[in-house]
């Protein structure tokens, strides 16, 4: 069970690191709420419109702010050599990718999860929608973490064009957005839509360690 211990200590390290980067997390959340205010102000106080587009807005903001934090995903650890140390410590590249994806999910996406209820109040989203929003959000944000892992590991090789990775993530998240927003709007189809979303999650989750692992390996070779 050495590997389990290593995984636990991996998260200990991530936790320490993310706490010291606490302002980044807070910045994300502030961004989130500021944007919601912007929408409310630009739409005007019309309750109907606000609640009709509320879920879409929450989703988009979620997506945008998870692209916000993509750069932190591997870049820092790559540059100060800690990615290499983790690997030499016995974690294969694929495993590192999986662990990092979860870490992103926990430390970057989770804080959003907690701000959703507040956002729902601000945006007049009906309470009974909240549960749909929540479940689609959890799955969707995990898909985003996986996509983020792939694109930011690609970015390690491509030294300059940072936004390219974000664009790729966003293009791939179009179907996810469509499905997730669909889930909330079409409550009767909830089960079938969420299983589609779940299917996408499985595919991305399976590809992630393979793709990200490859990219990490190549970037370490070239550094």
């Amino acid at each position: 069970m050495i590997i389990l211990n290593k995984v636990i200590s991996f998260y200990y390290r991530e936790y320490k690191l993310n706490l010291s980067g606490f302002q980044d997390i807070l910045t994300n959340i502030i961004f989130f709420f500021v944007s919601i205010f912007i929408f409310i102000f630009s739409i005007g106080p019309d309750k109907e419109t606000i609640s009709s587009i509320g879920i879409g807005i929450v989703w988009t903001l979620l997506l945008l702010s998870s692209t916000l934090s993509l750069r932190k995903f591997y870049q820092d650890d790559f540059e100060n050599g800690n990615l290499l140390i983790m690997h030499l410590n016995g974690l294969s590249f694929g495993l590192i990718a999986i662990l990092k994806t979860f870490s992103h999910f926990i430390f970057v996406q989770m804080p959003f999860l907690f701000s959703i209820p507040i956002a729902c109040i601000l945006l007049n989203i009906a309470n009974h929608d909240l549960i749909y929003l929540f479940s689609s959000f959890v799955i969707g944000s995990f898909i985003l973490s996986c996509l983020g892992s792939i694109s930011s590991s690609m970015n390690l090789m491509n030294k300059r064009n940072f936004l390219l990775g974000s664009i790729i993530v966003m293009i791939f998240s179009v179907p996810i957005i469509i499905f997730s927003v669909g889930i909330v709007n079409l409550e009767e189809n909830f089960n079938s839509l969420i299983s589609i979303l779940f299917g996408i999650l499985l595919i991305v989750f399976a590809i992630n360690p393979w793709a990200s692992g490859l990219c990490i390996r190549l970037s370490l070779e070239n550094n």
Binding site: I2, K6, Y12, L17, G81, N82, H87, L88, G90, E221
Partner: protein, 201 residues
């Protein structure tokens, strides 16, 4: 234990070195020497299977190292030419993280001792980015003790250190050798260390 056989490496179609042979037995200290850009770092990385050689192979305990990678990693500490401590955290926090991720059961008093010999004991609560360059470098050596592995692979361990620290590190090397450990390191400086073999690149 490690056997490098006829290793040649190319990067971007440029030959870095050709037909390097090297064997690292237990209780051996091997020094890599060569000009800047002669491929010392590249060779060390190749031994860690980070760089694909264009020809030749590396063996570990008689088997191809590639096939046996994580087993090999269980016995290796690598200190690169860049330091890896997290600059926004304090010395103590860094040590704690290292202790955790290397699953080390080294005792606190042992760590204190080493910190004292390295004269780092007064900096425990200082952030790493406010340490002097040499102090950061010395901190990195703590990993050798915390990881407690058989094989040490070190890239220019003596640069930026004062003579006294070099002497201490040298003694640590001797210690390690006497415990049947093996060391392979690169250096530009002459040092008092009694190397078993010198490989010119």
């Amino acid at each position: 234990m490690i056997l490098v056989k006829d290793l040649s490496i190319e990067r971007s179609n440029k030959k870095i070195f050709e037909n390097v042979n090297l064997s690292v037995g237990s209780g051996k200290i091997i020094l890599l020497k060569g000009k800047n850009g002669s491929g010392k770092t590249t060779l060390l990385k190749a031994i860690l299977n980070l760089i694909e050689p264009s020809s030749g192979a590396i063996y570990w305990k008689g088997k191809l190292l590639k096939k046996n990678l994580y087993n090999f990693f269980n016995h290796v500490t690598y200190i690169a030419d860049k330091t890896s401590s997290l600059s926004k955290l304090s010395v103590q926090e860094n040590i704690n993280i290292w202790k955790k991720i290397f699953l080390s059961n080294i005792s606190n008093s042992q760590v204190d001792n080493i910190l004292k010999t390295l004269k780092l004991n007064t900096y425990l609560n200082q952030n790493v980015n406010s340490l002097s360059f040499g102090e950061i470098k010395k901190l990195e050596f703590l990993r050798l003790i915390i990881e407690n592995k058989k094989i040490w692979i070190l890239d220019e361990p003596f640069s930026n250190l004062d003579d006294e620290s070099i002497h201490i590190i040298g003694q640590t090397f001797e210690d390690h050798r006497s415990k049947e450990g093996s060391i392979i390191f690169s250096s530009h400086q002459e040092s008092e260390i009694n190397v078993s073999e010198k490989v010119l690149l």
